[in-house]
Every structure is written in C-alpha cells, then in structure tokens.
Symmetry: D3
Subunit: 241 residues, 6 copies
Amino acid sequence: MRILVVNVNTTASMTESIARQAEAVAAPGTEIVPLTPDFGAESCEGNYESYLAAVAVMEKVRAYREPYDAVIQAGYGEHGREGLQELLDVPVVDITEAAASTAQFLGHKYSVVTTLDRAVPLIEDRLKLAGLTDRLASVRASGLPVLALEADPDAAVAAIVEQAAAAVEVDRAEVVCLGCGGMAGLTEQVVARTGVPVVDGVAAAVTVAESLVRLGLTTSKVRTYAPPRPKQIRNWPPRVG
Amino acid sequence: MRILVVNVNTTASMTESIARQAEAVAAPGTEIVPLTPDFGAESCEGNYESYLAAVAVMEKVRAYREPYDAVIQAGYGEHGREGLQELLDVPVVDITEAAASTAQFLGHKYSVVTTLDRAVPLIEDRLKLAGLTDRLASVRASGLPVLALEADPDAAVAAIVEQAAAAVEVDRAEVVCLGCGGMAGLTEQVVARTGVPVVDGVAAAVTVAESLVRLGLTTSKVRTYAPPRPKQIRNWPPRVG
Amino acid sequence: MRILVVNVNTTASMTESIARQAEAVAAPGTEIVPLTPDFGAESCEGNYESYLAAVAVMEKVRAYREPYDAVIQAGYGEHGREGLQELLDVPVVDITEAAASTAQFLGHKYSVVTTLDRAVPLIEDRLKLAGLTDRLASVRASGLPVLALEADPDAAVAAIVEQAAAAVEVDRAEVVCLGCGGMAGLTEQVVARTGVPVVDGVAAAVTVAESLVRLGLTTSKVRTYAPPRPKQIRNWPPRVG
Amino acid sequence: MRILVVNVNTTASMTESIARQAEAVAAPGTEIVPLTPDFGAESCEGNYESYLAAVAVMEKVRAYREPYDAVIQAGYGEHGREGLQELLDVPVVDITEAAASTAQFLGHKYSVVTTLDRAVPLIEDRLKLAGLTDRLASVRASGLPVLALEADPDAAVAAIVEQAAAAVEVDRAEVVCLGCGGMAGLTEQVVARTGVPVVDGVAAAVTVAESLVRLGLTTSKVRTYAPPRPKQIRNWPPRVG
Amino acid sequence: MRILVVNVNTTASMTESIARQAEAVAAPGTEIVPLTPDFGAESCEGNYESYLAAVAVMEKVRAYREPYDAVIQAGYGEHGREGLQELLDVPVVDITEAAASTAQFLGHKYSVVTTLDRAVPLIEDRLKLAGLTDRLASVRASGLPVLALEADPDAAVAAIVEQAAAAVEVDRAEVVCLGCGGMAGLTEQVVARTGVPVVDGVAAAVTVAESLVRLGLTTSKVRTYAPPRPKQIRNWPPRVG
Amino acid sequence: MRILVVNVNTTASMTESIARQAEAVAAPGTEIVPLTPDFGAESCEGNYESYLAAVAVMEKVRAYREPYDAVIQAGYGEHGREGLQELLDVPVVDITEAAASTAQFLGHKYSVVTTLDRAVPLIEDRLKLAGLTDRLASVRASGLPVLALEADPDAAVAAIVEQAAAAVEVDRAEVVCLGCGGMAGLTEQVVARTGVPVVDGVAAAVTVAESLVRLGLTTSKVRTYAPPRPKQIRNWPPRVG
C-alpha cells in the first residue's frame, strides 16, 4: 500500500526526517511517500502558521496524482485533519491522535511532552476535539524553542527528558507521547530516565494507517466528512513557483 | 471606534448583508468596515471551505492598512479565530461564541439552529473548544441548503422555525441562536413561534466587540496568542487578481 | 437607558464605590442607579450572608418604582441571580458571570483571584452553575480578609498580586478576573506584574447589560425564569426601619 | 436522637405530612421535630420562592432553642443547604441529595420525577452542585401543578406514574426518586407500573441523618462551611407576628 | 437484621478486624456476619488480586445458606460489586462508595487516602464508575505498603496522616476517607492533624446497608442487575479444601 | 509474531469463530493462537459471568507456556483487561476498546450496537473507564438474545441492522462498532443499510496488537500495571478436569 506522509512545514529536511521515521516502522509492502507543502512556514509554532499548514497540506494532497491508500498529517497539534477527511475517502491519520490512541493501550494515563510552551494549548485543544483527554495527565513543554536544539542539543534534550520525568512522577502519567521530532536519541533517553513506554507520533500513525487500510475501512461520508458541495472557489489554489 | 467585520466567504452581497446587520446595532460613533476575503468559497459549508476561509480572513485583515479597534469574524462555526488572535492585539470576536455567550445571560439552556446538517458538528466543535457547551441544549439543522432559500424562501424559513420550536419543546432550550443569516423576517418568526429570545450572532458580536474596546481590554499575549515568532513564510500570501 | 446596580451588602460606602466603577465605563446616555439592600450583612463572606443578600437584593429591586432597563447584581460569587430573573423581564447580569464571559474572549484560560479562602468554593459553584468552568484555570484567594485592606493596604494588594501571578505562571491562566473590589490601583498592579488582561466584574457587567438592552433581548420566560405563580406569601417582605 | 425536619413552605398541613413520612421510617429513639418557616410562600415552585425558603428555614432553625442532632431540609430542589451547614455543626441533609445518594446504591442510573416543568432546572442544578449527575438519567415532570392533585388526584397520580415509566423505558433509569410529596399511594403505583425501586426523599434523608449522627460525623468547618465571621447584620431577622 | 460483611482477602485476622469495626457502629438488632473468601490473595493490592477477590466474594456469598438482609463488600477500590448485585435481591454496598457518599454530606470536596501508590488508580476508577468524582479532590497514597505497618507502625501512620494533611491543605479536601484499615488510632490522628471529618468505609457501609433495609429498598432488577440468565457454567465453582 | 486470542466464554465453537475472524485480518507472519477458558459460562451476558470470565481468561493465559507477543481479550464489554496488564509485559488489547479507538479515526461520532439490552451498561462502563465516551453517540441493543440467532437468524440480524440505522439517523453516529459476533453477513448488511463504516472488534484488535508489537511498545509497569507483589494466594488456581 502507499501512504502519503505530509509534513506541515516547508522545511524539506524535516520532511526527510519524518519519512525516515515512517519508513523505519512501515510494514513490508508499504510505500511511504513524503510530501512537503508548497507554501507556509518553515516551522509551525502557533495558530497562524498551523492554519496556513492546514490549507497547504490539503492543496499538496489534492495535487498528488498517483493512487494512494491513506494520508498521515505529520504535525503535532496542528489544524487541518477534518478538511482532509472531507476531501478524501481514504483514511486520514493525525499524528497527535495516533500517538494518544496508542498510548491509551499501554497505561492508565498518558502525557504529551513538547518543546514550546505556546504549543501546549494547541495540543490540548486538538486532543479535546478528538475526545482523548479523559486519560490525559498533562501536556508539558520544555520551554526551549526548536532552534535551541542546534545551539545546544544536549541541553534541549535534557530539558525534554526532565519534563517527561515530571509528567510521570508529578502528573502520574504512565506513558509519554513525544510531541516534538528530530532529536536524536530522545526516545531512548526518555525511556531510560522514566521507565515508561514512549510513543512517537509518526511511527504510531503509520501503524494506524496501515491497520485501517488492511481492515478495509474508509472515512465515513454520511455527515461531517461528506465531500465538499460543488461550488465556486475564487482565486484558489494559489499559483506557486 | 472602528470595527472590521470580515465575511468568511467571497460573496460580496453576503458581506453587505452582514454589514447592514452590524450597523443596525452599532453604537453611535462605531464605524463598521465590512471586508470580503480575496479568495475562498462562495459559501462555507464544511471543513475544507472553512479552513480556506480561516486563512483568507487572516490575510484580508493583515492587508488592511488603516487603524481599527476590533475584528469580528462573521461566519457561524468556522475555523480561524485563534489565528487572528495571534496576529492582532485588538479583540477578535467570533459570532458563534458571541451568540452563545449572549444567550447564556438570558435562559437556563440555549440551542443553535442552522441550515445544513453537516454544519452541526462544526458548530458543536467550535462551542466545545470555546467552553460553551455545558448549557447547550442542542445544535439543530433544518436540512435545507442555503440555496433552497432562493428557490422557496417560505419553506426554508418554515423549516428553520420548526427546528427552533423543537429545540425549545423537545431539547428544552430557553434561548435560540440563529446559525444562519440572510433570511428576512427569520428572527421575528422564530420569536413568534417559540416565545423565547432569539440571538443573532453578528449583532451580538458587535456589542461584545464594542464592550471589550470600551473596557480597554485586549487579547492576552502571554502564551496561546503570543505573536507569531519571526520566521520564513514561503510563497505566501498568494498574489491575487 | 437606566441600569440598577445593586450592592449585595448593606455598607453604603461600598455601594458608592461600585457605582463609581459602573459610571466610569457606562456609555453616554446610560444612567446608573446604585441600590443598597435594606437588610443583610455589612459584607458577604459566606453562604448564610449570601443567601440573605439574595433575598435582600430581590426585595430592594421589587420596591424600586421607576422604570429601568436592566439590573446588575454586584456581588462576587453570591446567590440570587436566578430569583431576580424570575421576577423581572429585563436582563439580569451577575458580575461573576459577566467577568468570566468577558475573560473568555481574551485568552485560552482565565482565573479568578479573590481575598478570602472560604469564598473560593462559592465562586467555583456559581461558575459551575453558569457553565463557565471549562476554561477556568483556577480560583485563588490571598487568604487575607477584606478588613486587612484597611490595616495594611499595601500588604493586602501585594498578596492579591502574588496570587494573580501564580494563576498565570502555575495554573496557566491568560486572563485574570478580580473577585474583590475596592482596592485602589489593584488592577494596574496586577497588569504590571502579570502582563495579562485583568477584568473587573462591575465594569464588565455594565457593558453586558447595555449590550443586552441595545439588542432588545430580555430574560426567557418559557420555563426556568417564568414569573412566580400567584400565591400567598406569608409575613413577607419584612417591615424595615 | 433528635432531628429537626424543616418544611420549606409555610403550609402547616404539608409540614405534618412530611413529619409523618419521617416518623414512619425513623429508628426507635429518634425524635422527629417538624418545623414550619415563619415567613415565605405557601408552596415553593421557583427560584424566588426557593430563595425565600432558604433564609426562612435558616431563621427557623436558628430560633430553635432545644438541643438537636441533625437537620433535614425537606424541599425538593430548593436553595439553602449550604447556609445551614455554615450555621450548624450538626449534619444537614437535603432531601434531594439524600434521595439521589440512596438511589445510586440500587441501580445503574436513576431519574427524578416531579410535578411542575419549571422545577426541573432547579432540581438539575442542585444535583449538579452536589456532584450527583453522572448517573442521572433524567429529571422529568408531569406538567400538572400541585393543585391539580386536589381537583383530580387520580389524573395527577397517573401523569406522574407515566413519567416514571418513561424514565425507566426511554431514559433507561433503573431507580426513580419522587420529587413531589403528598400523593397517597404514589410510591406503590410507581413501583407497580415500573418494577423499579422508588426512593422517597424525606425517608431517605431520615436514614442518612441518623447514620451521620451514629457515625459521630459533623459538618466540616475548615473552609466552605466555617461559621460566619462575626459582623453586623442589619434589620435581620425580621420580626414576625 | 442480618448483614453479611465479606472481606476481600483470605486473611482471617483482617476479617475479624473488619467485623469489629462493623459491630461497633451496627444498630441494636443488627447482626454482623463476617465472611472470609475460600480462595484468593492474603491481601488485595492490584487488579489481578482484586478480580480474584471479586469472584471469591461472590462464591462465598452464594454458598451462604442462612437468610440475610444486605451484603457489604469490605475492600477499598476492589472489583466485584456489580456481580453481587446481579446475584442478589438484597442491597449490596461497597465500602469505597459508601465512604464517598457519606463524605459528600459533610463538606464541599473529599479526598481518599490509602497506603500503596498502585491502589490509587483502582480507587479512582471505582469512584468514576460510581459517579462520585465530581467532588473528589484527590486520591493520595503514603507509598508505604501495608506490611510496613508491622515493622514500624508509627512511621506508617505518620505517612498517612501527612497525606491527609496535604489533601486538606493542598488539594482542598474538606473531608477525608480512609482507604486503608487496621491501623489503631489512625482516625483519631488524622482528625487531630487536619481538623476535618474522617470517614471509615466499613462503618459508613454498615449504616448505608441498614438504611436501605429499613427503607425497604432492594437492588433494581430491570436491566443492569437482572439475575443471570440460566445457562451452563463449566468447572465452577472450584472445589476448595 | 504470535498473538493469543482468548475467548471469554467456554464455548469452543465461538473460540473457533473468533479465531477465523482474527486470522482473516492478521498480517503475514502473525500466528493467531485461540484459547478457550477452562471454566466459566457458555456465554457472557452480565456481570457475574463477566467477572468469572476475567479470572478464567487470566488463568488460561498464565497457564500458556509458549512465548507470545500480545494478548487479545475477545469479549465485548467484559471485565478483566487490567488484570492481564498486570500479569504480562506484552501488550493486552480488549476488543471493546480496539473497536472504539479504530472507529474514532473514521467519523465524528460512533455507536456500538449489541444484542442484549442488559449488556449496554457494561459496554458503557468499559468505555467510560477507557476514556472513550466523549465521541460515543450511543450504545444500542436489539433486545434479542444471542440464542434468537439460531431460532430465526434473519429476524435477529434485521433487529441489529435496525438499531444500527437508528444509531446513524437518530443518535448521529458516523461509524458503527458491532458488539456482537457470529452473525454471518451482519457487517455487510449494516454497511448496506447505513452507508457508514462498520468496525469489528476482533479484527480491529488484531491490527492494534500487531501495531503495538511492531512499535516495540509494552505495557507500562510504573504504577497501575506493575506486577503483582509476591504473596500467598490460597486455593488458587482451581484444579480443572
């Protein structure tokens, strides 16, 4: 089967990193097709950039001409999944929800740990809409921006690990979802420090998407995700390049 | 004071209709500036069109060069308010939330009545995020699309009135918010049929926006709605026209 | 328009202070009529006194003979608003609810900061009944009674400011409602310390009441707030003075 | 032990009826002391009358000079229990809460059936504050006022029985609480029609009060129900008679 | 009346201790019949042991041949109450729920304090199913296993008392339920340290069971707790001894 | 990988049917090992039988001597999953939760349709504990017992299909989970009648279990599901056969 894995920002190197994560867990016979939006922010760290990503992801997928079996939106806490579900019949999986759903099979409560403090409410709101907050212990942020990773990667990783430990010890999480990508060895260090299972959103989403395809299930079209009604769309999509 | 009232679709006649509703209730000294997005759907009836509206509204407001005191997003159940709040210091008011907040001062429970069945989950989700569902009795739809209004306006209005009556009698709403605009005499007929107060979202939003301005209050910038961090935005905004 | 602003305690100087707050924000053409109950406690700091205030406010309003357009109950976390809504057709606005509704337009979560610890559950319960707790971060108290204000005003204000800062930093509030009046400069100091918008209940209630009147909306009479049925009321109202 | 059972209205015949219900279930050695408020409505059917009852009940209990071990507030869905808890150290039991607590031991979900439609939101709100709504299937009303009982008792009882049956069959209640007193044979008829346990609030409250006394438990005084602070109460209590 | 009080573990000395607690509060004329399961763990400290207890308790009660009026399941946070309710017509009372129900009559919020950290989620889940978490402030554990009691009883009691104090001061509980038995003087020390009412589950359950019996109420049989349908049960119950 | 699929009742033909469902969806390389408990009821239709199943499943898995990678508990709405999670390090998947988690990726709300009315509260409670009720539209039952299937299979299937249609049309479900197995062609008929995706619990659980294994994730052992502490278990497990 072929799964489109769409980055939410326009940084190609992050798309590649996401693709590698996806391929590492994909089943034999699954082809991962990484896509980078044609417009939008180099990284998504707030609602404006996230809304931009929502439409850029949709246009990128609409422009893809080969057949495919499922789509993964690979951004943590971002807007847009509902729009993709309207446009497509194939399953659409958001990594925030895939991670949380997976975590709930492993422990009594789970937490999400991310980098920027301002991302916390976005993640909380996406989980709230997804109906996945009853067993959410906390969403925690290290407070260090993503760029700090490059300046001082050890310090950045240490700050994340520390928040994961607090999630387990203070908030009583039994599973941790990592809501930030691209940190080498991060998962291992969180496991080592906390002793709890650590869920990576991209990997979880690949297995969820594969499962839905294998089960022959597609997005329900009876109401919320019925195809858009035919109508005039003005000045859209934008001409790019 | 000057309030931008932004339509969510690209139909100029609807922008004018919204502007008239806003002006009818605006206080002396309040200038209503109606804006129509430069791109997007002729009407918003689903998530894809709604996400498109979200970014189109943001770009329209960003491009506006005169000073202003508040912004109203005039679409029922649409995405985008959070992004505007990031971009702006002045208050941003969504008509879905303004109507619900207003309704809660008038009765024990309130309902929203709209046209399309597929809009119901969008409205429910926006109210859920806004924390305004504890006293929500129901969101009901007449099932008739907006276009039916033109073909047979009396039937369309009658269908809405019937749902409002069911909201009051079956769902036990004591106030009704109308989640659909542009129907002459609709409010009067719902009041006549149900005997309960009927809240129009645009009108409610104008008074909320004026109130926030007079109170000297602006959007909180400490976390969720902090301004976007400076970064590269690729191929955006789109060149239109 | 004329708005009755009813104090919940029998201390006339506090009624005057509330009236000044209300007049400072009232629109041109709005007349504020301050009222002090004829019986009850010199300050409301618990359920017994609050229930007493509820009936004293109702009787004071019932005894008022001139026409008016709305009523504000100016006590934080007090009982009684539902009774007024039964007795009156005009809008009734409680300052606790007006502050919370207003705060929700400005940030992702809000907190209330008050003086006495024992007032916290009363405020929580009123917000729970009003359906305004989904985005409530916390209700915090300084622990200092109101009287401490006179003995050492700087310490009392400092204690409040400290709790507001904890609400923002620990509880993640993005807006603060002040559930205690009469402290000169309090709002300014909380803004200066926390950087978040600070909502005063009396001021917020004035704009809400004015808005409802301008929108032509009145209390729903179909069920919960239908007028009391005609019946014998024994030994009531009490003869005073 | 001695338990004060306080009616919420000023109709002495209803106080007697309540006393008989209480005495029928009281343990040997329990003395039931029925009290009728000195002021207030002949029946409580709304918020205004209910707030009046709250203070009238408190004053009646305050004026009682003999020792006693517990107090029962015998009104369904009425205000005031929190105030009594402040004034007294002995346990205070509201019949609405006692019935619901009792019902929860007997089935998966419970309903409350009452007479007047307008009482439904009051009962819902009291149960909400009491934290007893998770397993509440519904609050239903027959729509017939209490006075209809005298005009056509059979029809009134039949209407209640019909709502109880709907609670069991439609709302899936497994236990029914009767939120209306004084109907001969009502309990038996509801049991006969529905086959589910039927809880009478007054009887349940007597056993709860006796239990708390026997367990040596008293109202917590650390925060919410701490005694009122000493202060000036103006023109209160009213002189009656 | 006769009440079966069933221990959840196979340690006879604990059954005796529970029986003494029950008898201390039982009304004159109430006979307490203590029962120890024939199989299962010497103490229940987790889900496996708790599920084992659930069936062992059921079989012990099924094997009891004399008439009785009610059953108390005397384990904190254990599985099984629903099964007993199916098998029996007489009331079934779980001490976890009896304690919480009782606590809710005494203060605004309550906490449960227990020994083992791993018991916290079990207790939380049982209270969640019972619909008793709205006013639950916290479930706290001392972290010391039950056996620590024997090695150093003073330290064990001190650790519990410390958590109870934190429940009151940090979590704002106004009543404490003790979710661990068999510590001499524990209740007195918690009362002395916190000043709040302390509820013992076994004692509370005895009064609840007696109350239900005196009210003539039995378990609802219309749906959830209807008797098991006649069918083949293979290899069960186990032959013991 | 090897996955144990454990039936909850003692009817071997149902174990075989479950095994066929599991094998139909299992990935190449996945070995399905069906297990039938050694004791318990021929079908689980209530709490007593369900608790019995919980311990029978645990003992059957404990007695299994070969290595395996995951366990599926194949009963809808049954007790016991938490106990298995304590006993095992490998992932444990309950089909009720796997179906609901899967459904949530496909539509805005989902319903569960089952046979017996008395199973509804059990399923609701399991979903409540699993934190999967926010988007649950309803749990509906056809009211026909499983045995009706044999007497008149067409009528039994038709009754289920009718409830599924009501779930979609009345309760607004967009996905349906089938909480009853063994009906030939049931899924197809529900899809044909409703047009929504239909999720089979056993199939969903197989893909979830495979996913967890491939992701290298195991049950968290830090608190709730830590291994049972070493202690004496009396008269257990039972000698069978």
